[in-house]
Amino acid sequence: MEEDQELERKISGLKTSMAEGERKTALEMVQAAGTDRHCVTFVLHEEDHTLGNSLRYMIMKNPEVEFCGYTTTHPSESKINLRIQTRGALPAVEPFQRGLNELMNVCQHVLDKFEASIKNYKEQKASRNESTF
């Protein structure tokens, strides 16, 4: 109860660029007062397991993270709560950002490899068609 009363809700600056003039929050940080920034719950709007699970995996791979979990609040709402607790005094935003960047790098690498593989397949197919003549 006391914690609820003391909960601070901070709205972070990232907004989606929807119709002109309309600004929707994309990310919120919820943190119980009295704790330093090492355990934080991030509320990500308009997200689901697609980002939640993959981001959770990347953040868990960080040895500084003591706990990371996510949940969808309710199937009718499209938002997720992602909680990060770090060892020591590392602010929780740091593994969050690092996880996002690492996920970007992973996706970029997968993209490159996939494109190369498709190109390779097509070349092989073309050369196989030629060699039958």
């Binding site: 697609t50 996002l100 993209l111 996939f114």
Partner: protein
């Protein structure tokens, strides 16, 4: 040593037991296993990761992704289904519909028709914009009237003979270019993907006359925008023989699996079973119904080897290859998989 072998199995295989599945979840996070450095290492990931395209044609694509975790593999699958954009009919302006198919049913059917248009060349329509411009809308006209065939035989009962234009197909849809679309898109490139989809049936005197607006959308909004008929993956099967299986038992063993998985070879006069191609197996688990042989085999799946199978609704255009991982706001994660479409 037995201990490290068990640990390796725990880390890298999902084991299918007779009554349950073990080692399902990913456990290789830092601190779980002593002696292993499981922290994220981009270089190590890049070294181990590979993509192999097994088969690709107009309607389907099969490829393997090796060295990636389930959460990311699943994210790609989810994106293929729900977040890759396509063009589909959204608004239907009905001028005349005297057919037996109600307006809304007809509109629903038209929305599900796959449209052959590259969505990357179009923008999303702004919210609240009713009219639509050439940059975000494609227009199609469908006008068919059914009449009686004056030259039909007197006693014929075949509708194909008696009536003209009694079946409305997608080939009756004509594209109406807006603005400068005629310059941008050569004749015949903007059309429904298949021209033999039956939309409605008519009888003499009935007519369908309508205008369709196509917009860009994603599967999350409505399933008609999903570019894939289905996108799924399975893990690579891993079948190991725990003890040698010979003679009649070898034949029995090969019958317990899909054809081609276990083959029986003649070695020094004896028949010996060998696992030839586990990839083909569909894991019917028939082996567990055989009391003698179930102890001789370990059924497992390789945890980080994903065999994707994707069937497309759009032939001739590899929409499957376009997968976009997006986070909420613009700058976070934008990775677009964009291989070239097949020729």
């Amino acid at each position: 040593m037995a201990a490290t072998q068990a640990v390796e199995e725990m880390r890298s295989r999902v084991v299918l037991g007779e009554f349950g599945v073990r080692n399902v979840h990913t456990t290789d996070f830092p601190g779980n296993y002593s002696g292993y450095d499981d922290a994220w290492d981009q270089e190590r990931f890049e070294k181990n990761f590979r993509v192999d395209v097994v088969h690709m044609d107009e309607n389907s694509l099969e490829f393997d992704m090796v060295g990636i975790d389930a959460s990311i593999a699943n994210a790609f699958r989810r994106i293929l289904l729900a977040e890759v954009p396509t063009m589909a009919v959204e608004k239907v302006l009905v001028y005349n519909n005297t057919s037996i198919v109600q307006d809304e049913i007809l509109a629903h059917r038209l929305g599900l028709i796959p449209i052959h248009a590259d969505p990357r060349l179009f923008e999303y329509r702004n919210q609240g914009d009713e009219e639509g411009t050439e940059i975000d809308t494609l227009q199609f006209r469908l006008q068919v009237r059914c009449t009686r065939n004056p030259h039909a035989a007197k006693d014929s009962s075949d509708p194909n003979e008696l009536y003209m234009n009694h079946k409305v197909y997608t080939r009756h849809m004509t594209w109406i270019p807006l603005g400068n679309q005629a310059d941008l898109f050569p004749e015949g490139t903007i059309r429904p993907v298949h021209d033999d989809i039956l939309i409605a049936q008519l009888r003499p005197g009935q007519e369908i006359d309508l205008l369709m607006h196509c917009v860009k959308g994603i599967g999350k909004d409505h399933a008609k925008f999903s570019p894939v008929a289905t996108a799924s993956y399975r893990l690579l099967p891993d079948i190991t023989l725990l003890e040698p299986v010979e003679g009649e038992a070898a034949e029995e063993l090969s019958r317990c699996f899909s054809p081609g998985v276990v083959e029986v070879q003649e070695v020094q006069g004896k028949k010996v079973a060998r696992v030839a191609n586990p990839r083909l197996d569909t894991f019917s688990r028939e082996i567990f119904r055989n009391e003698k042989l179930k102890k001789a085999v370990r059924l497992a799946r390789v945890r980080d080897h994903y065999i994707y199978g994707v069937s497309l609704c759009c032939s001739g255009w590899s929409a499957v290859a376009r997968s976009r991982l997006t986070a909420t706001s613009t700058s976070w994660l934008q990775v677009i998989l964009l291989p070239q479409p097949p020729e």
